[in-house]
Amino acid sequence: MRYSILQLARQALGRHRGWGPAWRDASPRDGYDIVIVGGGGHGLAAAYYLAKVHGITNVALVERGWIGGGNAGRNTTIIRSNYALPGNEPFYEWSMKLWEGLEQDLNYNAMVSQRGVLNLFHSDPQRDAYARRGNAMRLHGVDCDLLDADAVRKMAPFLDFDNARFPIQGGLLQARGGTARHDAVNWGYARAASALGVDIIQNCEVTGFVRDNAGAVTGVETSRGTIRAGKVGLAVAGMTSHVAAKAGLRLPIESHVLQAFVSEGLKPLIPGVITFGAGHFYISQSDKGGLVFGGDIDGYNSYAQRGNLPVVEDVCEGGMALMPMIGRVRMLRSWGGVMDMSMDGSPIIDRTPIDGLYLNAGWCYGGFKATPASGWCFAHLLANDAPHETATAYRLDRFRTGHMIDEKGAGAQANLH
């Protein structure tokens, strides 16, 4: 059933008894052309684009819990394409373009809101680094502006310009950046994929892989039985190492916890997304009015989906240093998600050394904004056995060849990215 204001009005007359399930809650069949493991945004988007773009509809998506229950539903909802390195920028810009048409494509309001992403700088070297990044974006045809302190003051007069330990010198603004409603993205992809024939199978945990004599993966063992598959794609960021180990793969990934926070609802206050350049703090305001903010990862390997106080304090110190008006705003809820921290801070979308097994992983704490392009490129890889043109750098063997994509220049230590 198509969603629209007219449909909504019509259903209201019938006391909304006419709405059906947003997606079919499917049970597994014997086999599929492609099985995608992981019902987060990336897996759901890949399933959708397989059906929509490549016409491959004999697809199952298996999820051990409920779709969108991992990082896809536990993030700070920021979308942007402001990267410095050529391996990243075309991919994230492709994602941004997909965001810009997503709601019409899915017929689902994901509340994609392009209210701008402003990265503040506080020193000359930081300004030059942002200029380098901004220039790289322009070379890729992506708009951005390097603002001085006066321009920042006009946009965000509530920032601490006068009493700051690290005074604000300016910022790099991507006006097309912003936020989207994370749950709606998941549900929108699920609904659209299901409508095209994809089986979305919840509460179905992958417990192993089916291998043929040559070692190729030909299916998955699950808590709901064996499912044969022509190809299997993993999109289980956070748990990638754990699942890949069932196929004998060791990966350049560590799992780390990232916390995020939301405040009580307030009348509109923060225009877009603002990030602090002298500490770990970024913030936006949801349509419901809550301030949504976060900072650095806790820093130790963890699968716990929860963090500790030092990072909570560090984030709030950054918030108070940047915008001391939020002192009396109350933090309502915190949560923790488990990140695939890769060894260079960038993702992997590639075939694995095992035939039939494909990998979408290593999203660190930046996976949400990548959702559409990640799904698009993973679907492309699964359908064509070749990387999409915007994702050619996301190879698994890049660490061996030295082609790391290290935006921070932090080196081979996962928690530094």
């Binding site: 008894r17 309001n109 690290f166 009396r328 081979a412």
Partner: protein, 990 residues
């Protein structure tokens, strides 16, 4: 000034002898010490407190505690305005100002209530189905309207004028909650000699002992509590924290707690923090957090005048307020009957008690019948009507309808043990059918629940439960106790049944009050497939309000279970996450804001530099002198150009104390250094220094610096300022983890030495005058030589090192003598035209010399990229050696360090610009590199820059386009050798 028409003449814990004045929405009222804002407004007959989130429905007070979802107000005004503050938790003070929220133009007449007309459209998730066309309209039309309508209170936008403290505590046992269970547990543990912290969110300990008409050992509840607190306060091993909410539980017994030090005052006293965040590390924890009463879902259950029964009892018994004149009680268990008795005692006309069960203990029903109130057993509440409440419609077991003309409806839907803290570390509550609630299952070894928090709802049972928990905790801590007999308490009946909804729920029957989630929304969500508790929460926003589902969640799960044919043990519940109650962001931040956000490190001569007009720049936490402005210099370039020219012309001095310094001692230091640096050190003679480059294990450059050998086993390493801590960690990693067999000790001495670079053609003359005993000849102290000496009786070290390219020295003295040394050097330096120079001039001179610094040691460069590849030894292993040989890292097309000078000799080249071939389109495929460092060179009389350019080493002399579209037009530049000045190094060897 109005009277207080609903104030009860006697009783309660308020001080009627004192009157406090306050205003709500500009209207003046009075109350008494002991009141909350809610109780005082109720005493004044105020029923309407706020408007709901979506439909802007009029709302009153539902609860008497921190779980209040409806009565949110903005407390205070101006910069201290605090939106979304629960009227039920605000202690009344004289002069209090509160304002209602989320209404326009007024609370009584709110135009946004028009939203209720659209309620048929505004069902759960409606916004996902519309507002999609046209795409661009979201940002300029739909979203601004939605955002303005949403949100609760407004923030002032002014800086928070108050400050927040942090405190740490360590204890054997943390008892959370000072109701009867918490007091017993704390007394038992305190008497057993354990270190105890007892924390309670209320200003006065006692919990329900203050709110229910109970006695212990013949002593009235409040008096017993006061005596218990007095005993605890007298124990040196016990700390009682009132107004303190334990909001989170973290690893290894760490708890976060927030103490509202001054929230009950108009403004904090001078020097007093508004709040204090406690981090309490406890070996054992007892949750004596009680239980929260839950409402029942029925039509009109949100109308002002519908209140939780426990809240009604609290207002009557504790605050001396009758929340209405004519009351009806609806209950799913025994506790509602106690409220009925409380209402009778308070003089309220009790019209009826409706019990959803068929049987009630006679002892509870007798007083109600005696008062002449109706009793409907096996009854149902159907609807509440009127705003504020005027009619209550119920149905009896036979199906007959009864309408009561009531202004108060007390609802007792059952009790939810407060075990959220236990869930923070992942311990899921389990469904217990016997108490119709989720409770703590098999908990962690260091935590137990007691009393109502453990599902024990009667008073005598609570005391016994607390005793048992305390004994368990004491035993777990290795202690022992022979406790006194528990005080005698009546075992109050506490039967309960599971009732989530009642009546048709066809109109506005609310599950989540604040977020306006109705029973119909739950049904719709299930119909659309959102059947997991997480999907239900996210699709309807049930449980996401400021009470975090404390009031709404279990009812929502009950309705979900019913709609999907599952048991509540199958649906499970939402994992509670910190904080238990919302906590001010300022409290987490503490004192780390403004200039105190991060520590500021000053070198020994910071004050001296400031007095000389230095402008400081941040280098990590350090403040370094960037340049020294002389009177008359109006632009920083004037100062920097002068400092460079003066140094190259005569002599200048620069404070380089911030460089990292590591002293290394041991027989194997040389071997270790060989592993740490790409070049060799083991053969470095005593008295010599050597420049070294350090790689990360992945083959990229980590840092550079010098190492000096002062003795066979004694070495001294310097690092860049930025990497000081990281290199220290790296050295310790190498000597402790990688090669623990090596005999090497290492210690950071960065703060121990004050170090000054003395550079320029007259530096030797200056030092000769300043250190007359030192032999500064080329023979005694050649370039890259070092010598230990004494200055004014203390150890000093003199190195002949140069970053500027001039004849130069670095002189180190103990940090506390740094200032004296500078004074001495400038005293003798006047004859040599000595000037101080800052980091900007230092940067100019290093760019002129082509030395890589932080902008080039950026984590992306190899030694070869920086022109340092030839330093790498082929005769030894070193960290990064193998990975540096990966194909992408030895690709000749990699950007290599070059110099740039503007083709026109004048146009500035900026760092951060990219490099394109002349004529090439400005697209990423043509990107050939970037400018890493740039400056104006007074020595060359033109702007110069260092850049990393593809095939750079082979392109000297080529013209290139410097592309900087975010800041300005393209500039043409000539590629050149990165060493602009004195390429043969004649000056530094002079």
């Amino acid at each position: 000034m109005t009277t207080q028409p609903f104030r009860i003449a006697n009783g309660g814990l308020i001080d009627r002898s004192r009157t406090l004045s306050f205003t709500f929405d500009g209207k003046a009222y009075v109350g008494h010490p002991g009141d909350t804002l809610a109780s005082a407004l109720l005493a004044n007959g105020v029923r309407l407190f706020g408007r709901s989130f979506k439909y802007h429905r009029p709302r009153g007070v539902l609860t008497a505690g921190s779980e209040e979802p409806n009565a949110l107000v903005t407390l205070r005004d101006g910069a201290r305005a605090e939106p979304n503050t629960r009227a039920t938790s605000i202690e009344l003070y004289d002069g209090l100002i509160a304002t209602s929220q989320n209404r326009w133009p007024s609370l009584a007449f709110d135009l946004m209530a028009v939203n209720q007309l659209f309620a048929p459209l505004f069902v759960a998730g409606f916004y996902y189905k519309t507002f999609m066309w046209p795409a661009k309209a979201w940002e300029w039309l739909y979203e601004p309207v939605i955002r303005r309508a949403a949100g609760l209170g407004a923030l002032s936008g002014a800086e928070d004028p108050d400050h927040y403290d942090h405190a740490h505590a360590f204890c054997d046992l943390l008892v959370v909650g000072a109701g009867p269970a918490g007091l017993i547990a704390a007394l038992d543990a305190g008497r057993a000699g354990l270190r105890v912290v007892l924390a309670d969110e209320n200003p006065q300990p006692g919990g329900r002992l203050l709110c229910d008409r109970v006695s212990l050992g013949g002593v009235a509840g409040p008096d017993w509590a006061a005596a218990a607190v007095a005993e605890l306060a007298a124990m040196a091993n016990v700390r009682v924290l009132t107004r303190t909410t334990v909001f989170g539980r973290f690893d290894d017994g760490e708890h976060g707690a927030i103490e509202q030090v001054a929230d009950h005052l108009p403004v904090p006293l001078p020097g007093q923090p508004r709040q204090r965040m406690w981090k309490i590390v406890a070996r054992q924890t007892i949750l004596a957090t009680g239980a929260t009463e839950r409402p029942i879902v029925f039509d009109g259950n949100d109308r002002p005048g519908v209140m939780l029964a426990s809240a009604v009892s609290t207002y009557c018994n504790r605050h001396g307020v009758a929340p209405g004149r004519r009351a009806v009680v609806v209950t799913a268990g025994d506790s509602g009957w106690e409220t009925a008795a409380d209402l009778i005692a308070a003089g309220v006309t009790l019209l009826a008690v409706i019990d959803t069960r068929n049987v009630v203990p006679d002892a509870l029903a007798a007083p109600v019948r005696a008062a002449g109130a109706g009793v409907i057993m096996g009854g149902q509440i159907v609807a509440a009507k009127g705003s504020p409440l005027s009619r209550v419609i119920a149905r009896d077991a036979a199906g007959a309808s009864h309408t009561f003309s009531a202004d108060l409806l007390a609802v007792a839907g059952g009790w939810n043990p407060q075990v959220a803290l236990a869930a923070h570390l992942g311990h899921k509550p389990v469904w217990r059918q016997d108490i119709a609630a989720y409770a703590l299952g098999a908990g962690p070894a260091d935590l137990r629940a007691a009393g109502a928090a453990d599902g024990v709802f009667g008073l005598a049972g609570t005391l016994a439960s607390a005793r048992a928990a305390a004994m368990d905790a004491i035993a777990a801590l290795g202690g022992s106790a022979a406790p006194a007999a528990l005080p005698q308490a009546d075992e109050t009946p506490h039967g309960v049944s599971a009732v989530w909804a009642s009546g048709p729920c066809s109109g506005k029957a609310f599950v989540d009050f604040q977020h306006d989630v109705t029973a119909g929304d739950v049904t719709l969500a299930v119909q659309e497939g959102f059947t997991s508790v997480e999907h239900l929460k996210r699709y309807t926003t049930l449980g996401m309000a400021t009470d975090q589902g404390r009031v709404s969640q279990v009812n929502g799960h009950g309705l979900l279970a019913a709609a999907t044919g599952r048991a509540l043990s199958e649906t499970g519940t939402i994992r509670a996450r910190p904080p238990v109650v919302p906590v001010a962001i300022g409290a987490f931040g503490g004192h780390h804001r403004g200039r105190r956000f991060r520590a500021e490190r000053h070198t020994a001569s910071h004050g001296w530099a400031a007095a000389r007009g230095a402008v400081f720049v941040d280098a990590g936490q350090w403040k370094r002198a960037q340049w020294y402005a002389l009177p008359g210099e109006t632009h920083w370039r004037q100062s920097v150009d002068r400092e460079v020219s003066a140094t190259r012309g005569n002599v200048g001095i620069c404070d380089v104390s911030t460089l990292g310094k590591i002293e290394l001692i041991g027989a194997d230091v040389g071997t270790l250094l060989d592993r740490l640096y790409i070049n060799g050190f083991a053969a470095l003679p005593v008295g010599k220094a050597r420049y070294g480059v350090m790689l990360r294990e992945d083959g990229l450059v980590m840092d550079d610096g010098t190492v000096t050998r002062f003795g066979p086993d004694r070495w001294f390493m310097t690092t860049t300022t930025a990497n000081a801590a990281r290199v220290m960690q790296h050295v310790d990693f190498a000597r402790q983890v990688l090669w623990p067999e090596m005999d090497v000790a290492a210690v950071s001495v960065t703060e121990q030495w004050a170090t000054y670079s003395i550079a320029g053609p007259r530096s030797r003359d200056l030092l000769a005058a300043a250190l007359p005993d030192a032999d500064l000849s080329n023979a005694a102290l050649p370039y890259m030589g070092a010598v230990g000496l004494r200055w004014r009786g203390a150890a000093a070290r003199l190195y002949r090192l140069s970053f500027s390219g001039e004849l130069a020295y670095e002189l180190s003295v103990p940090a506390h003598r740094g200032q004296a040394l500078l004074d001495h050097l400038f005293a003798v330096g006047a004859d040599y035209h000595l000037v101080p120079y800052g980091t900007e001039a230092l940067g100019v001179m290093r760019i002129e010399k082509g030395h890589p610094a932080g902008n080039e040691l950026n984590g992306w460069t190899t030694a070869t990229d920086l022109g340092l590849g030839r330093m790498a030894s082929k005769k030894k292993d070193f960290i990064g050696r193998i990975m540096a040989e990966r194909p992408a890292l030895i690709d000749p097309a990699r950007p290599r360090l070059v110099g740039l000078r503007p083709a026109d000799g004048a146009s500035p080249v900026r760092a951060g610009a990219h490099l394109l071939r002349p004529g090439a389109a400005a697209v990423a495929a043509n990107d050939e590199g970037y400018v890493s460092s740039a400056c104006y060179s007074p020595t060359l009389g033109m702007p110069i820059a260092l850049a990393l350019l593809a095939h750079g080493a082979d392109r000297h002399g080529e013209e290139i386009v410097v592309h900087d579209p975010v800041r300005g037009a393209d500039v043409r530049a000539l590629v050149c050798d990165p060493v602009f000045f004195d390429p043969d190094g004649e000056r530094l060897r002079g």
